[in-house]
């Protein structure tokens, strides 16, 4: 199955390609005879915000140092992009993980929280070695259907077969980082319907909600 078909199958057909990220497009190109993708799969710092969030001098220096540090490789970031878009794909409500900048977030956070470095790097290697064992190619190079076959083995902690147990922790970490990165983005806030973080006048729970719950202020 082509990646395009796979995306259709999970309910994306109505969205068309326009909303797909360059990352996803780059991923798709890998289905073909593998030209060097012209679009870089991920720009590690390209989608980083300008640092204007009240840092102290020490903090600003630490941020700058981390930004300059290179830890995850282009291949690893490409794999993260594919995985995170499987975890949080675009749907009729919102875009995908990579559209929300999750790859860049993960690239940064594993440097910021070094305790993630080994689980992330090792997990990605585990994934590639499993992929090679089963399908003869690394994870980003196998078909979307094959990718889903592997994901199905590691996405359900209570159903995992013993030979895939190491993959479960890795996938849970990926799921948690992806969700946190996605929902803490602007796209994620909209998806969640979060409408706060702005000046307003709190006048209590809306009347229709009170009614729904059989509650009142009197």
């Amino acid at each position: 199955m082509k990646k395009r078909d796979f995306l259709k199958n999970i309910g994306l057909s109505s969205l068309g390609m326009a909303v797909m990220s360059t990352d996803a497009l780059a991923g798709e190109m890998l289905d073909g005879p593998k030209p060097k993708p012209k679009v870089k799969a991920v720009s590690p710092t390209g989608n980083m915000p300008k640092l204007n969030y009240g840092r102290t001098k020490d903090e600003a220096e630490r941020d700058a140092k981390l930004m300059a540090e290179k830890f995850l490789t282009e291949h690893e970031l490409k794999t993260i992009t594919v995985l995170s878009d499987i975890i949080i794909p675009a749907d009729k409500f919102s875009g995908s993980a990579s559209q929300a900048g999750v790859t860049g977030f993960i690239e940064f956070i594993v440097k910021d929280k070094p305790e993630f470095k080994t689980p992330m790097r090792g997990g990605l290697r585990w994934l590639d070695s499993t992929s090679i064992r089963l399908f003869g190619k690394d994870f980003v190079s196998i078909t979307p259907k094959q990718q889903i076959e592997i994901v199905d083995e590691i996405a359900y902690p209570n159903k995992v077969k013993p030979e895939f147990s190491q993959g479960v922790n890795f996938f849970s970490l990926m799921r948690n980082l992806t969700a946190t990165g996605f929902y803490s983005s602007e796209i994620g806030h909209k998806d969640m319907g979060y409408v706060g973080n702005r000046p307003n006048n709190w006048e209590g729970v809306p009347e229709n909600v009170l009614k729904e719950f059989g509650l009142s202020y009197s």
Binding site: D58, I87, N176, T180, H189, G196
Partner: protein, 581 residues
């Protein structure tokens, strides 16, 4: 030898204050207003919640590359505390087998910039616990001595709440409280059936403007980031900056106090030596009166480090109790998921920074197996998604079928996973007990004989252990939390903390309510300060932070620090007028 530079050799200030938090800020505010020439030493940097270069309020999580995670600040990127439990180059130690965690904020206003604004008066019983249960000690003062100052700060600083006529939760002068959030209405309704009172919280946040210098709350829920409209209480915005406007205040930032200087003949305090942390030079500032307000820990450290032939055990320490009786609030917590809140309608539920309702202590300890009470704080609602959001869904989504009744396996991925996150959003509640410990002579901080910080100042070594009193109280908290969760139709998350973890009792220092290291009393043999927070041994030396506390009730310390500091300042002004200082 150090070259001790005098900051300005011709200047002798009326008062030198160490620290600019609640206690130091209030003293500076009151004394400058009365016309005294005051110098405040602050170990950290300048901070003004309204200055754009410091502002984190209403920043979006995606403006932080770590989405607000707590990698550099203990409570996350946007929290207004420069410091934390660990500060590079400023260590502290603990004796073997004991534990203590010491939170410090190095900035103008100290820890008041990020605190919870929970502003509870001590009640009449809180000053007289020994008379009630025979444990610890009574204060040398009672509620009636402090009440006028609580009234004063209620009006001057501003606080919302409700007058309930409860004996040990005194009424105050309150602004209107905000209406309850949805989960808070549910808690109130269900707790009533359990006989657990749940009343409007009492927070120092302006639900109405009280003067032209400060705005009213605009309900962003971010008091922990410090308020650019000055609509909540921070010592920086409400006390220090106004004190500077009097023209009577000299503020020296980056000034890490080393010791209080004394005259070998008279034994009186003459000033303070400090490290200018920018130039790393030693400096001195002179004053006729010295007020320590550097926090209970730093104040004890300064007194103990201020040794001389006249004061061989440290300054004002002829009793030997400086550092003794240090005590932090107890704390235990639990969270739950409430299916009734699944798939809830969205609206802006930010509210004020913190809970809109709380549970004051409601039981009689004479009928329980532990001597002191606790209050309960509540969390929940449709808060802002940031770092940590969605974490651990694999432990939840198997338990609850989807809206269409489909049972799912734990974990998963894809569009249906996104549905789960949306379904569970705003359906969590949390609760935390904050309780009164019994102060213990054997819990103490002292000077570590072997360790200095990067300024060469000997550091504190803590020796702190919880007793059965606190552990049994934590057990009671956990049982209560489960009752509350059950009554609400919720399911508690995680395993119930048991005896192996002291029932989830937080490690000492984690609640950041440490008090009691220079306690007041009528007997100079068993206390450091008299009932006016004046050192028994040195009459021009005062303490205005939480070090004078004999006990702390289950009430967060700040409102009482402020009231006592105002009271002490008033005493200093009177004594100056009478020529006694």
């Amino acid at each position: 030898m150090f070259d001790f530079q005098i900051k300005d050799p011709s200047t002798v200030y009326d008062v030198v204050i160490i620290g600019s938090g609640a206690g130091g800020g209030m003293a500076a505010h009151e004394l400058t207003k009365a016309g005294a020439k005051v110098c405040v030493l602050e170990a950290g940097q300048y901070f003004d919640p309204a200055d754009p270069k410091y502002i984190t309020q209403m920043k979006q999580p995606w403006e932080s590359p770590r989405r607000g995670a707590s990698s550099t600040r203990a409570f996350g990127d946007f929290d207004a505390a420069y410091g934390g439990w660990n500060i590079d180059g400023e260590p502290y130690t603990t004796t073997s087998g004991t534990e203590f965690h010491w939170f410090r904020s190095r900035m103008l206003g100290g820890r008041t910039n990020h605190w919870g604004r929970i502003s509870l008066r001590f009640g009449p019983d809180d000053f007289k616990r020994k008379s009630i249960d025979g444990l610890g000690d009574d204060w040398p003062i009672g509620y009636d001595d402090v009440k006028p100052y609580y009234d004063y700060i209620d009006k001057m600083i501003g606080i919302f709440g409700s007058n309930e006529g409860l004996h040990n939760e005194p009424d105050g002068i309150f602004l209107p409280p905000p209406k309850q959030r949805l989960h808070e209405l549910m808690l109130q309704k269900n707790n009533k059936k359990l006989g657990i009172p749940t009343i409007p919280s009492r927070l120092s946040i302006l639900t109405k403007a009280i003067n032209k210098d400060r705005g009213a709350c605009f309900y962003c829920s971010q008091c922990s980031r410090a308020c650019l409209a000055y609509a909540d209480f921070s010592s920086s915005s409400v006390l220090m900056i106004p004190a500077m406007k009097t023209g009577n205040l000299t503020l020296i930032t980056y000034a890490m106090a080393r010791e209080v200087l004394t005259d070998p003949t008279t034994g009186l305090a003459t000033g303070v030596s400090y490290v200018d942390t920018v130039t790393m030079t030693e400096k001195v500032v002179r004053g006729k009166t010295v007020i320590l307000a550097a926090s209970a820990g730093e104040t004890a450290r300064l007194l103990l480090n201020s040794k001389s032939s006249r004061f061989p055990n440290g300054l004002a320490n002829s009793s030997g109790v400086v550092g003794r009786y240090i005590n932090d609030s107890t704390g235990a917590s639990r969270s739950a998921i409430v299916p009734a809140l699944f798939d809830r309608k969205r609206y802006n539920e930010d509210g004020v920074g913190g809970m809109h309702v709380y549970t004051p202590w409601w039981l009689d300890n004479k009928k329980l197996d532990f001597p002191r009470g606790y209050h309960i704080e509540y969390g929940g609602g449709m808060g802002m998604p940031a770092y940590g959001f969605g974490w651990g869904i694999e432990g939840i989504n198997e338990k609850y079928p989807t809206r269409d009744g489909i049972k799912k396996a734990a974990g998963g991925y894809g569009a249906t996973l996104k549905e789960d996150y949306r379904r569970f959003y705003g359906a969590y509640i949390g609760m935390a007990g904050r309780g009164e410990p019994v102060p213990d002579y054997n819990n103490y901080c002292e000077i570590d004989p072997n360790v200095v910080d990067k300024f060469g100042i000997p550091v504190l070594r803590f020796n702190y252990k919880w007793s059965d009193y606190e552990i049994k109280q934590a057990k009671h908290m956990q049982d209560t939390f489960e009752q509350i969760i059950h009554e609400m139709g919720g399911e508690a998350l995680g395993k119930k903390p048991d005896a192996k973890t002291n029932y989830g009792l937080a490690e000492p220092g984690k609640i950041i309510h440490e008090v009691g290291t220079a306690r007041m009393g009528n007997d100079p043999k068993t206390s450091v300060l008299n009932s006016n927070c004046q050192a028994h041994d040195v009459k021009n030396l005062f303490v205005a932070d939480a070090a004078p506390f004999v006990s702390q009730g289950d009430k967060n310390a700040t409102w009482t620090i402020l009231a006592l500091s105002a009271r002490t300042s008033n005493y200093i002004i009177e004594q100056k007028k009478m020529g006694n200082l």
